[in-house]
């Protein structure tokens, strides 16, 4: 059966992407979850994964084309699928399915032989396809000038130049593009979501002691980090306390069936992304740590997976060991809650009736008042605190 393979949603703050590379060609088979293409976004390169075991029938979009979420990228043949599941993942605006086909998908005219017409001095000679691509990619005539010496500029030259320009773009420029997508997503969150905020100080002593024992018995590769205990506690609490795990869309709350915890990861030099740890409430700490470690490494290397972007049903953000004590996060729409943690700090604290020095963790919740209120938010934070007090249950 033929299915359309569309650019999936890559999160609230990403509406389009540029196709960098096809990893498959017509005739190739692709497994469910396997990357079929690589796209570039303001947040880095993202592998676009197949939703099915399928064979590639045809590729629609040309590398270099900027496409919006929902654009048909390729046609696949899915074997034995009687009824096609929706190939549009959760989180995708329905309207985008009607996105117009990208102009770059049009067949490219055959390149004009360079020898046929030497370029006139001072005037660029662009093939029609090259002219169109150059315009689409925002390449200025000056950038193309150097190519004139070699003869007519073909569409391939334009693609190559655009790729080179992207590769050498000043980091400051990349940062400012990312800053602008973060800005627009957060402005939308602040405009549309009536946030309320709650904070709770959690005695992290039990969790820390348990973790130290756990890690002391294991080699470096198998050790856990403190932040992972928080992520797991949030996932379990979100699965049990109603109203924090899911999306607010079309005027109502849609509870999510699974708990996919978006994990805010800072990028060196500024910016952040929040790909999801899938089914975080059901995985053991060892598995989660392995996935988290991989996620961080891939994000830092600028290479992520599409499934991790569309999926988050709630987000956790942490300032880490080097940060300050408290953070007040902003909800990542269409999600309805985000949990923030500061650094674990040693402070005087009444413990078992005596003032003693304890490691304390400030846990904050920003939640959507259209879905919950402070009373249930308070239960949610207390559930997280209780789980962290009994880390062996995580």
């Amino acid at each position: 059966m033929q299915v359309e393979f569309r650019l999936p949603s890559l999160g609230a703050d990403m509406e389009s992407a540029t196709l960098t590379q096809w990893l498959k060609k017509p005739g190739d088979s692709v497994r469910r979850g396997e990357a079929i293409a690589v796209v570039e976004t303001e947040k880095g390169l993202i592998d676009i994964e197949s939703y099915d075991d399928a064979a590639v029938t045809s590729l629609v979009v040309t590398p270099g084309a900027k496409i919006t979420v929902g654009t048909v990228m390729a046609h696949l043949t899915v074997e034995g699928a009687a009824a096609a599941p929706a190939h549009v993942p959760v989180g995708q605006p329905a309207a985008s399915a009607a996105a117009p086909p990208t102009p770059a998908a049009a067949p490219q005219p055959a390149a004009v032989p360079a020898a046929a017409a030497p370029p006139a001095a001072g005037r660029l000679r662009l093939s029609p396809a090259a002219r169109r691509r150059a315009h689409e990619l925002g390449l200025s005539p000056e950038v193309l000038e150097q190519q004139a010496d070699a003869g007519v500029v073909h569409v391939e030259d334009v693609e190559r130049l655009a790729a080179a320009a992207r590769a050498t773009a000043a980091p400051a420029e990349a940062r400012s593009a990312m800053r602008s997508v973060i800005g627009s997503a957060m402005a939308r969150a602040k405009r549309e979501i009536p946030h309320y905020y709650l904070g709770h100080t959690v005695d992290f002593g039990a969790a820390r002691a348990w973790l130290q024992r756990y890690n002391a018995a294991r080699p470096v590769q198998e050790r856990l980090v403190e932040g992972l205990l928080v992520t797991k506690a949030v996932a379990l609490a979100a699965a049990h306390v109603e109203g924090f795990n899911g999306y607010f869309r079309d005027g109502r709350f849609e509870r999510a069936g699974a708990v996919h915890v978006g994990t805010a990861i800072a990028l060196r030099g500024g910016g952040l992304v929040a790909p999801a740890l899938l089914d975080a409430d059901r995985k053991d700490l060892r598995t989660l740590m392995h996935e988290f470690s991989n996620l961080v490494a891939r994000v830092r290397a600028g290479h992520m997976r599409s499934s991790e972007f569309a999926a988050a049903t709630i987000t956790v953000t942490s300032l880490g060991e080097d940060g300050v004590e408290t953070l007040y996060p902003i909800i990542n729409p269409p999600q309805v809650a985000i949990v923030g943690t500061g650094r674990v700090a040693e402070r005087p604290w009444v413990y078992q009736g005596v003032v003693s020095i304890r490691p304390l963790l400030a846990v904050t919740l920003a939640a959507d008042h259209r879905v919950t209120d402070g009373r249930i938010g308070s239960r949610f934070l207390q559930a997280i605190a209780e789980l962290l007090a009994a880390p062996e249950r995580l």
Binding site: Q212, N215, A216, P219, V220, Q221, R223, V225, G227, I265, A266, R268, G269, S293, V296, A297, R300, A301, G320, E321, D322
Partner: protein, 90 residues
């Protein structure tokens, strides 16, 4: 047991590991005595990945309380040489 590893070799292998974790780091510009955290925005996950990479590369286990000794290039070199001289790695 093999002869103790030369300081320069330890250093160059550490630099290669750093480059793999943070490709944006220019080894020529690294200040060996300055904390990686301050110099390159290394966070706790970077430090963990560094410890993991060192453990694999030099085939030694690094106890968690020793992680801070890997915080700057020079300190990490000295730590590793001590550990390698004491045996257990190669």
């Amino acid at each position: 047991m093999t002869a103790p590893m030369e300081a320069t070799e330890v250093r160059s292998r550490l630099l290669a590991l750093l480059a793999a974790i943070a490709p944006d780091i220019d080894p020529a510009n690294i200040d060996p005595t300055r904390e990686l955290r301050d110099q390159f925005d290394f966070d706790s996950m970077d430090r963990l990945h560094f410890a993991m990479a060192i453990s694999t590369e030099f085939r030694i286990d690094i106890p968690e309380p020793d992680y801070p000794q890997l915080g700057a290039l020079q300190r990490a070199c000295e730590y590793l040489q001590r550990r390698l001289e004491a045996g257990g790695g190669h």
